[in-house]
Symmetry: C2
Subunit: 537 residues, 2 copies
């Protein structure tokens, strides 16, 4: 039996386009002689539907588009796709389901049992659990168990979130294969954990497992694709591409195991691909084609420049140099060189007159003010104003250049360098920013070497260095990993300093742009912290 794994990139609520994609993939699969095609979780709605589910009219629209799609699906193909369905029993309003269509009819509906309700997931907000054990179906004489994403993550040793039960543990029916529909977001090197989870399940049910994942960026989440099929011993039978749409066929009766199915990708290369996809999809899915950012001559904006060029093409990227009163010529020269290396539009806006005027206007009312935070923040915020002005002028999206280490300690100016519609590197520690820049420089010096080697500085006052206000980055980064990602207690002096700065700067992160998530715990919607609190423990 031939099964097509349809790894699609959809957009939340774009039922028309998502239906068309599903239809197209079905016809494609038919050409390859598929008997059954499997799509990801929420294939027609997009993931995460979030509180759009509170608008009945949206669910009605989804149902209308599903009904239209079903009529158009090829009659000779079994089609299994993720959809949101009404919960007919007591409890939350919806089920996170998979619909099986044959001959233009829904012949079965399967619902997800384990609902993730941690980190970025809020599924217990709108969904009621189904029963995995009920999700058995026979297709062309073969018995399948249909599972949805979290359903296979009930293993306490493999999921940091501890479900109260694992629906697979007691499962003992004989099946020919397990079909798993997913919208499983990327985090660094998650694919290996995913494969381990799948192997454990395949061994448990003593049958092959077909894992179909979503691909594409959606706000803060990046779906990395990498769908696969394994046999009951956990050996790979088929493997789809990462970070792009793909259609892969697998024959569960005859497939040979794959030898070296995909080249091993090193972590920084994986990170690069993830961020490029996340950035590209965010920009395109909000209907914009062009982006820009402040290019300072420092390492963070240098990385943003490289990612933006890959995501949108050099013709759609503008770098703005905004040298202030304390910026060095070196910074400007380095920014200019990088822009030239990347063949992107490079504009300089000298805002010194504006800055002087702002200080003057301010002092006219409040009297002479000693140089300090007021002046530093004016510089950062005027930059923000000009960058946003460029958005208005060119319908271009401002990309934020903050990294996770800075965000942790609040080393950024709200409404200044925190401006931007999307933060592509807000989940990267400074170490990762360096690592990814060096990765970009592997074959040749794309990023001028000096950008990487000079000491980080905000250049908002004379001879300023990040290290004046922050612990050295190699120590700060360790604390970030420990306190933010692993949520451990502060034990060292640096940890304690960082924890205090972190807990006191929640107000800045509350108003930060969406942050592409690449770690297991990012700032953004997956982390919900009060502002007015005194819990510095």
């Amino acid at each position: 039996m031939r099964i097509a794994m349809a790894q699609i990139n959809n957009t939340i609520g774009d039922f028309k386009t998502n239906s068309a994609t599903i239809l197209k993939q079905c016809h494609e699969a038919l050409k390859f002689g598929a008997d059954l095609i499997v799509f990801p979780e929420c294939a027609i709605f997009g993931y995460t539907p979030a509180d759009l589910l509170e608008r009945d009219s949206i669910i009605k629209a989804q149902t209308k588009f599903i009904n239209q799609l079903i009529k158009k699906l090829p009659k000779d193909l079994y089609v299994l796709f993720g959809a949101i369905t009404d919960n007919k029993k007591a409890g939350k309003r919806y089920n996170n389901s998979a619909l099986l269509v044959k001959k233009n009819k829904v012949i079965r509906s399967f619902s997800k049992e384990l609902l993730p309700n941690y980190d970025v997931f809020d599924e217990e907000r709108h969904f009621e659990s189904g029963k995995l054990a009920d999700n058995l179906v026979t297709i062309k004489g073969k018995k399948f168990l249909v599972a949805i994403c979290e359903d296979i993550w009930g293993w306490k040793d493999l999921n940091p979130f501890q479900h109260d039960h694992n629906p697979l543990v007691k499962f003992n029916k004989k099946i020919d294969a397990m079909l798993v529909l997913n919208a499983s977001p990327y985090s660094l090197q998650k694919s290996s954990t995913r494969l381990e989870v799948a192997k454990k399940c395949a061994k448990q049910v003593k049958a092959p497992l077909i894992y179909v994942n979503m691909v594409g960026g959606q706000d803060e989440l990046i779906f990395d694709g990498g769908s696969f099929a394994i046999n009951k011993s956990g050996k790979l039978l088929a493997q789809s591409l990462y970070f792009q749409e793909d259609l892969t066929l697998v024959n569960i009766d005859k497939s040979k195991t794959l030898i070296n199915p995909q080249p091993n990708v090193e972590p920084y290369e994986e990170l690069r691909q993830a961020l490029v996809l996340g950035l590209k999809d965010f920009v395109y899915k909000i209907g914009i084609k062009k982006v820009h950012f402040g290019l300072s001559g420092g390492i963070d904006s240098a990385l943003i420049a490289c990612l933006a060029v890959e995501a949108l093409g050099p013709n759609n990227v503008t770098a703005l140099a905004l040298p202030g009163p304390y910026s060095s010529k070196l910074s400007f020269d380095l920014a200019k060189k990088l822009a030239s290396n990347l063949s992107i539009d490079f504009k300089k806006v000298d805002f010194n007159s504006t800055y002087k005027a702002m200080v003057k206007d301010f002092e006219k009312t409040f009297g002479k003010i000693k140089f300090g935070l007021v002046h530093e923040n004016f510089q950062a915020r005027i930059r923000g104003d000009i960058l946003m002005g460029f958005s208005n002028l060119n319908n271009s999206l401002l990309i934020n250049t903050s990294n996770k280490s800075e965000l942790t300690v609040g080393y950024s100016t709200l409404y200044g360098d925190l401006c931007g519609g999307i933060s592509p590197i807000g989940d990267l520690t400074k170490k990762q920013v360096f690592g990814l820049c060096e990765h970009y420089n592997k074959s040749h010096e794309l990023i001028p070497k000096k950008i990487i080697t000079r000491p980080p500085t905000a250049e908002l006052k004379p001879n300023q260095k990040d290290s004046d206000s922050l612990p050295p980055y190699h120590l700060l980064d360790k604390s970030v990993e420990k306190l933010v990602v692993h949520k451990k207690a502060a034990t060292t002096a640096v940890d304690k300093r960082v924890l205090k700065m972190m807990m006191r700067s929640e107000f800045k992160r509350w108003q930060a742009p969406p942050i592409l998530r690449v770690s297991t715990h990012a700032f953004g919607q997956g982390r919900r912290m009060p502002i007015a609190h005194n819990a510095i423990y």
Copy 2:
């Protein structure tokens, strides 16, 4: 038996202060001859604990402070308070519990069964359900059932959120009273629904019900207090104050029913008290004493001025007039008059030189630009910069002046008038803004009448009126109620226009300040919407 209802105002994670408050109230209650004192839900932790619960070290600290507190509690009093406890069974890590202490020992622990996981509530994220039926205890020969907040909200006709069961329906034990610990956030006229819910429960269990609520502002939430006791027929036996701390005693054996227990408060007066408390507590709980805002001569900032004065006292409030190139003299004069009426510090910053310099610096790079959005936003953002400069100068919190109608359609400049640490009127429609201003003017013309009667304008271009870009406010407000609060489908032409503007401006609200919640559905953390989507239904 005398029961003290201890309506306290705590701060999240401030275990030291919260414990001290509990201890103080216990001694107070003893003076009045109380046998038992009941505190709110999460009395020692604060509500909502949110993802602070993901840091084990914080729970350890809570436990340490609870143990210290217990040792100090008066021996002759039964003390019942909300606390977060480890869940010893399978499932989520914690229970939302109530601890009963006598003679310096925890003699019983009771856990919440119904966990709210909708709107601003995320309790299924960290808590496991207990069983209400297990929460029976005998104190001095009286039988009590202990419930926590949502436990009494299982009634389908009274809770828009539909729980899959109501643990009270099958409850049939004979009890002497029900004790309910709450952290029930305010929304307009919620107290009457709350009383109705309590009456239904009292009738169900055929016993009096003691309802103890939290009071105080906590980020976006305002806890309104208003604790009460009713007899088994639902008649009021005791009633605590709204919007302030209180300690009220009730004798469940002998209490007479109260006649006209609290004067009826009209809705705008209630709203005023709620907003003043929410603003005051936000500012104090983040450790700040002073606030400021741009006072434009328009109605939104006029209302902010009145609220700020009540919350923090006139000496801690600064109004900044920031007349721009298109501001009228009338606006300035009205702002000045209001500031004088309120006896607050009034400063004028003329930013025209800055504005001219910014346009010039920008045009130097991009060439002559036709007057438009770039110029309008520069004005709004320079105002933001100056207002934030004042924050840096005076350690004063910038208060945002946006209302819900504007926020719905995105009629505001991100990093401009959307700046601020807290949005006190971001959950008020324009109609409510007018209504509350008129309420302030009831006894005398506190707010110059012209501020209320002139047509709303942003004054960012010549002769600009809000009505140039928006539906008339009386229609816009109706759509806001329908689409945002009640989540209904768009049916009228105005609805459809508003819906589109709303769905396209999620990116602005993503970066908006915390918004004090006074409706049943506010923007802010209780509403989670994707940015990159195409679900305009």
